[in-house]
């Protein structure tokens, strides 16, 4: 799967990098930064799904 973050929607709640620290990081202002490019490695898929399911702004989509 691939992860997409809509930076127009991201408001820096920080749930993604808390729950999926190997998939997301925080920039200096606390907004999401994607750490993986292309497909998410299988072992990180669960993290990515947790981030998607806990983003209050629905800014994260998995395809």
């Amino acid at each position: 799967v691939k992860v997409h973050v809509d930076m127009e929607k991201c408001q820096g709640h920080g749930r993604c990098y808390d729950l999926a620290p190997d998939v997301f990081g925080a920039d200096d202002e606390g907004y999401a930064e994607l750490l993986v490019t292309g497909d998410v490695p299988a072992e990180l898929e669960q993290q990515a799904r947790a981030a998607e399911a806990n983003c209050p702004e629905r800014a994260i989509t998995l395809t």
Partner: protein
């Protein structure tokens, strides 16, 4: 409703929840459900339009140009808008660009050690007591001490601080007269001035000599080559005082009230402290310490078939959004193993609580340190906890330990 939102303060003025009865304030969730089922968008005379559904609240948060946060400044006797809460985009962005980095996880993380110490010092202060007042001895002083530490102010200023905080947020309690009574308003106005004066004095000191604290950083921060003016810094400090203290106290009151009354769930976290972050999120969802946040419509519009007029106050009932069965499976069950939890306890959209990362740190550390030392406690038998409406805090929380 009172609200503390999001960037911070919200409108702490009169609110529909001022009339909330004690049982509803204690367990508001069934009332939220009634609102969602019977009147998900409802106009209440003199109060504005209440939004109870998650989907409608999402919509309002995503359209700050239509649902403005620039509330009239008078409710708290602040003489200028609070920054950044009462500033709309595009100016809002400029302030968040300055403030977000100061409250980003990277900056907050180093506070874990002093915060841990503050929690333990407060618990040490209980001595051998088998009965304490959780509110007076823990949930009230703790966030204020964190705040003083963060701003580089002496802990000795705590009493002065609590006086300013209570005087501005609940002057009616302090004076013993209604909120709109002349005497109450005069008192609140005096307190507001003392807040400006207090921070003005400290900022004068920091102008002369910088320290490693937030106030010093405010003086030197630049955005687009511009520094914050003294007024702007004061308007940020004013907001911090009303937004950063009461909300964490209320969260602790709600959390410990819940855990005191649900010993089996308490034991889950005592046995496995690794679930504490999930416990914090689930109790933020279920309890929603800040019941709602206020907006004002900038044009005629409509939500869920209900007309909203330009100038109408619109109240997003966060507690209802957080228990909306359209969003959450088992919405009325408290589950620490919830896989999807998109709660809005810190608000949403551009005004998302600036202090949310700090608040989460304080709540997690408090739960962790407390339960490692005091796993057994209960509400004192015979006592019913009386939550204040709006911000669900407790004036008194008699607790038996052991």
């Amino acid at each position: 409703m009172s609200t503390t939102e999001t960037d911070g303060g919200g409108s702490y003025g009169g609110s529909p929840f001022d009339q909330m009865d004690a049982e509803t304030a204690r367990h508001p969730q069934p009332s939220y459900k009634l609102m969602r089922d019977l009147m998900p968008v409802t106009r209440m005379e003199g109060l504005g339009v209440l939004l109870a559904k998650r989907a409608d609240i999402d919509e309002a948060f995503r359209r700050p140009e239509l649902f403005s946060s620039a509330m009239d400044a008078v409710a708290l006797q602040n003489v200028r808008p609070l920054i950044p809460l009462q500033i709309d985009p595009p100016d809002h962005k400029k302030y968040r660009k300055i403030l977000d980095p100061l409250f980003a996880p990277k900056q907050v993380k180093p506070l874990e050690e002093p915060v841990t110490r503050l929690v333990n010092d407060l618990i040490d202060g209980f001595g051998d007591a088998t009965e304490i007042d959780f509110s007076q001895q823990f949930s009230v002083p703790f966030p204020s001490q964190v705040f003083l530490t963060l701003l580089g102010l002496p802990l000795d200023d705590l009493p002065e601080f609590l006086k300013m905080k209570d005087g501005i947020i609940r002057p009616d309690h302090v004076v013993g007269k209604p909120r709109d009574d002349e005497e109450t308003v005069a008192y609140q106005r005096g307190i507001a001035q003392s807040i400006y004066d207090y921070f003005d004095r400290v900022l004068d000191e920091r102008e002369v000599e910088r320290r490693d604290d937030l106030l010093s950083r405010f003086l030197d921060t630049e955005v687009d080559g511009e520094r914050l003016t003294r007024h702007e810094i004061l308007d940020v400090c004013f907001l911090f005082l009303i937004a950063g203290l009461d909300t964490v106290s209320a969260s602790l009151d709600c959390f410990f009230g819940y855990l005191a009354e649900h010993p089996e769930q308490r034991r889950q976290l005592v046995d496995d402290p690794s679930i504490i972050p999930a416990v914090v999120e689930e109790l933020l969802r279920w309890e929603t310490p800040v019941i709602g946040v206020a907006r004002v419509a900038t044009a005629d519009t409509e939500v869920g078939g209900c007309p909203i007029h330009k100038g109408d106050h619109v109240m997003a009932i966060l507690g209802s959004a957080n228990t909306d069965e359209a969003e959450f499976d088992d919405a009325d069950v408290v589950r620490f193993d919830r896989e999807a939890n998109r709660h809005l306890a810190f608000g949403g959209g551009v005004h998302r609580c600036l202090g949310s990362h700090l608040a989460r740190l304080e709540l997690r550390v408090a739960l962790r340190e407390w339960h490692a030392r005091l796993p057994e406690y209960a509400v004192k038998p015979g006592v019913e906890l009386d939550y204040t409406p709006g911000i669900r805090s407790l004036d008194t929380f008699p607790m038996v330990l052991g």
